[in-house]
C-alpha cells in the first residue's frame, strides 16, 4: 500500500459492491420460509387493497344483502342465483369472502397507520431522550415504564371507553398503547450510537443539532426500530381484532376481522363454523406472514451478524 494508490486499480463494479440495502436483501432471501412469508404478506396486502374489485359483493352496502341468504354454508348459491358464496354467509346474508377481504383492508390499514404514527411519536421522543438525557429523559422513561406495566389491551379499552367507537378512535388507542415500545427502543439505540465518535465529530464540524439527530443519529438507530415496528404491526392488528371482538372497536355495519369472528361466535355450537373460522384463518395468516417477515428482518439486521 503506497501513499498515493492504496489499492490496485479497482474495477468499476468494486466501487458499487455491497451497499447496505443490497446486503440486507441478499441475506433476507437466504431463508425460504421468510420468502414464503413475504409472498404471503404481499398477497394478503394486495388482496386487501384491491378488495373493491376482487370481492363479489360490497358487504357494507346493506342493499346488496339478502337476509334470506343468511347463514348459508360454503359453496351455496344465492337466492337469486347470481352469486356463489364460496365461504358461506353470515347471519345477515353477507358473503364471507367479501367481508373477509374488506375486513382485511380495515385490519391492515388500521395496523399500518397506527404503527406509523406510534413509530413517529415514539421515535422522536426516544431520540431526544437518548441524545439529550437529563430530566426529560428521566420523566419520559418513567411514564413509559408506568404505561408498559399495564397490559396494552387494558390501556386501549380505557381509552375507547372514554372516546367511544370509530376507526380514528381505534387508531388513537393503538398509538397510545404502543408508542412506549418505540420510545424505549429508539432511546437505547440512541444511547449506544450517540456515544460513538462520529457523533462527536459531527458536533465538532459545527453541524446543527437537528442535522446530527436526523441525518447522523437516526439512520443508525433504525435497524432495531424496523424489527420492532414489523412485530408491532402484527400486535396492533391482533389488538384491533381483540377490541372489535369485544365490541369496542368498529361499528357493526363495517365489520373488521375481529367483529366477523365475534358475529359467528354464537353459531359455532350449531355447526355453522364458517362465520367465525374463515375470518380467523385470514387473521392468522396475516399475522403469521408478518411475524415470518419480522423474524427474518431481525436476523438480517442483527448488528452482531452484520460484520460478516
Amino acid at each position: 500500500m503506497s501513499e498515493t494508490s492504496p489499492r490496485p486499480a479497482a474495477s468499476p463494479a468494486d466501487s458499487e459492491v455491497e451497499r447496505p440495502l443490497r446486503r440486507v436483501v441478499r441475506a433476507y432471501a437466504e431463508s425460504r420460509v421468510a420468502l414464503f412469508g413475504l409472498a404471503l404478506l404481499l398477497a394478503i396486502v394486495l388482496a386487501a387493497l384491491l378488495a373493491p374489485w376482487l370481492a363479489p359483493q360490497n358487504p357494507y352496502d346493506l342493499m346488496q344483502l339478502d337476509m334470506l341468504d343468511g347463514r348459508l354454508p360454503p359453496g351455496s348459491a344465492s337466492g337469486d342465483g347470481q352469486l356463489t358464496y364460496l365461504l358461506g354467509t353470515d347471519e345477515q346474508g353477507r358473503d364471507m369472502l367479501s367481508a373477509i377481504l374488506y375486513g382485511l383492508r380495515i385490519s391492515v390499514g388500521v395496523g399500518v397507520v397506527a404503527t406509523l404514527l406510534a413509530l413517529a411519536i415514539g421515535m422522536a421522543l426516544g431520540l431526544a431522550a437518548g441524545y439529550f438525557g437529563g430530566r426529560f429523559d428521566a420523566v419520559l422513561m418513567r411514564i413509559a415504564d408506568i404505561q408498559l406495566s399495564f397490559p396494552s389491551i387494558l390501556v386501549a379499552m380505557i381509552l375507547l371507553a372514554l372516546f367511544g367507537q370509530g376507526i380514528d378512535k381505534i387508531v388513537i388507542a393503538l398509538v397510545a398503547a404502543q408508542w412506549a415500545y418505540y420510545a424505549r427502543t429508539t432511546r437505547s439505540a440512541a444511547l449506544v450510537e450517540g456515544r460513538k465518535e462520529y457523533i462527536e465529530a459531527a458536533r465538532l464540524l459545527g453541524l446543527s443539532t437537528a442535522r446530527i439527530l436526523f441525518r447522523h443519529l437516526l439512520p443508525n438507530c433504525l435497524p432495531p426500530l424496523i424489527v420492532v415496528a414489523a412485530l408491532q404491526v402484527a400486535a396492533a392488528i391482533a389488538l384491533e381484532a381483540t377490541l372489535s371482538f369485544l365490541g369496542l372497536g368498529l361499528p357493526v355495519t363495517e365489520p373488521s376481522l375481529g367483529l366477523l369472528i365475534a358475529n359467528g361466535f354464537q353459531y359455532l355450537y350449531s355447526g355453522r363454523y364458517w362465520i367465525s373460522v374463515f375470518p380467523g384463518v385470514a387473521l392468522l395468516l396475516l399475522i403469521l406472514a408478518i411475524n415470518l417477515v419480522a423474524d427474518q428482518l431481525r436476523d438480517v439486521l442483527n448488528p452482531r451478524l452484520q460484520s460478516q
Binding site: 492504496p6 489499492r7 479497482a10 466501487s15 462527536e200 465529530a201 464540524l205 453541524l207
Partner: protein
C-alpha cells in the same frame, strides 16, 4: 488547498519551535489555563435534599483534571503522554470544546472562547478539529465518503454544489487516497484507509489546530508509521498545529516539538522533546522512559514503576505520584509540588527539584 494558506506555511517556519510558557511576543494559538474537570458532580435539588436529610450519600466524584495549564504556539506539535485514566483524553476533549471544563479558561489567540457568542464560537471552533482513536466508530457507517467529507463544508458555505466533487477529490488526494473511492462506504475501507478518511474529514473545514487523541493507537505498526508520516507532511503543507495525545512515547518522540507528561489529572513535566528524552527530571517520566521498549539486546528487568495507577475517585494527598515514587519523602505526602522551571522551557513538578 495548500495554495490557500501560504501565510500559515510561512508562519510555520518562523514559529518558535520551543515556545516557553510565557514571554512569547504573540499569544499562543490555544491556551488552556488552570483547567479543572470534575465528573459526576452537581446534584440536583432532589439529591441535595436527600443528602441534607441524610438519606443519600454524596455521589462519588472523579477529578479528571486538577488545574492543568497548557499553551500551544502556532505551528507547534505538543505531545501529551500519560497512562490510561490520567485525564489526557479529557484534556483533549476540553481543548476542542466537546467537554466543558468545570473551571478554567480556554483562550484561542488570546481571546477567551467562553466570552464569545455562540455563532462566533462555532466559527472559531471549526479551526479546532479532532482526529479520533477508533477508525471504525468515528465514521458514520451510513454515509458515503463523498458525503462524509463534503457535508460540513457545504453546510458552512465553504463550497458550492458544482465544486463539491473536486473538493472531495483534492481532500482524498491530500491524505493519500484514490479520489475514485469517494463513492464508497466506510466499511469498504481498511483501518488505515479509514484513519485517512477521518483526517480528510477534519481537514475539510480548513482547521488550524488538530487534536489527535490516540490517533494511531488502533492501527497496525506499519500503518501507524504511514499515518504519522502523513501527519508530518500535512503539518508542513498546511502549517497545522497539533496536540498529539498518546500513551506511546515512541510515537510522540517521532512527532513532537514539546512533550507534556500527565499523571492522574496533573501535568508533572513539560519540556522540549529532545530534552525530555535525554534529561527527564520527574521520577515518573524517568520511570516511563525506562519502561519504553528499546532495541538493546540486554537482559532487561521491568521494575521502574511499582504498583498501579491510584483510583481517581480517591487520589492520594500531596504529590499524586508519591505512593509509587522511589524517591518519595515526608513532604511529598502532604504538599502538592508546583510546576517550576528547571531549565529553559523545561518545567517539572517535583519536590526533589527544590530539595
Amino acid at each position: 488547498m495548500s495554495a490557500q494558506q501560504p501565510a500559515q506555511t510561512a508562519a510555520l517556519q518562523e514559529a518558535p519551535v520551543k515556545a516557553p510558557a510565557s514571554g512569547s511576543p504573540r499569544a499562543p494559538l490555544l491556551e488552556l489555563r488552570d483547567i479543572r474537570k470534575i465528573f459526576g458532580a452537581r446534584p440536583d435539588w432532589l439529591e441535595r435534599l436527600g443528602q441534607r436529610l441524610g438519606w443519600l450519600q454524596p455521589a462519588a466524584t472523579v477529578q479528571a483534571l486538577d488545574g492543568v495549564s497548557l499553551s500551544i504556539a502556532h505551528g507547534e506539535v505538543v505531545g501529551l503522554v500519560g497512562e490510561s485514566g490520567c485525564g489526557k483524553s479529557t484534556l483533549g476533549r476540553i481543548a476542542v470544546g466537546l467537554h466543558a471544563p468545570s473551571s478554567g479558561k480556554r483562550l484561542w489567540r488570546g481571546t477567551d472562547l467562553d466570552a464569545l457568542s455562540d455563532a462566533e464560537r462555532r466559527r472559531v471552533g471549526l479551526g479546532i478539529q479532532m482526529i479520533f482513536q477508533d477508525p471504525y466508530a468515528s465514521l458514520n457507517p451510513r454515509l458515503r465518503v463523498r458525503d462524509l467529507l463534503a457535508e460540513a463544508p457545504r453546510v458552512h458555505g465553504l463550497i458550492d454544489r458544482p465544486s463539491e466533487t473536486d473538493y472531495v477529490a483534492a481532500l482524498l488526494r491530500q491524505v493519500g487516497l484514490d479520489p475514485a473511492m469517494a463513492g464508497r462506504f466506510p466499511h469498504q475501507f481498511s483501518g488505515g484507509q479509514r484513519a485517512r478518511v477521518g483526517i480528510a474529514r477534519a481537514l475539510a473545514v480548513k482547521p488550524e489546530f488538530l487534536v489527535c487523541d490516540e490517533a494511531v493507537a488502533a492501527l497496525d505498526v506499519s500503518v501507524q508509521a504511514q499515518v504519522l508520516n502523513l501527519f508530518m507532511r500535512l503539518r508542513e503543507e498546511l502549517g497545522l498545529t497539533y496536540l498529539f495525545i498518546s500513551h506511546d512515547l515512541g510515537v510522540v518522540r517521532h512527532l513532537s516539538d514539546r512533550v507534556a507528561i500527565m499523571y492522574l489529572g496533573r501535568i508533572v513535566e513539560s519540556a522540549p522533546s529532545a530534552e525530555i528524552f535525554s534529561r527527564p527530571a520527574h521520577p515518573y517520566t524517568q520511570g516511563l522512559l525506562a519502561e519504553a521498549p528499546t532495541l538493546k539486546v540486554e537482559k532487561k528487568r521491568f521494575l521502574a514503576i511499582q504498583g498501579e495507577l491510584p483510583s481517581p475517585l480517591a487520589p492520594p494527598p500531596g504529590c499524586h505520584f508519591h505512593p509509587r515514587c522511589p524517591y518519595a519523602f515526608e513532604r511529598c505526602r502532604f504538599e502538592v509540588p508546583n510546576l517550576a522551571e528547571i531549565a529553559p522551557g523545561h518545567v517539572s513538578a517535583c519536590h526533589l527539584n527544590s530539595a
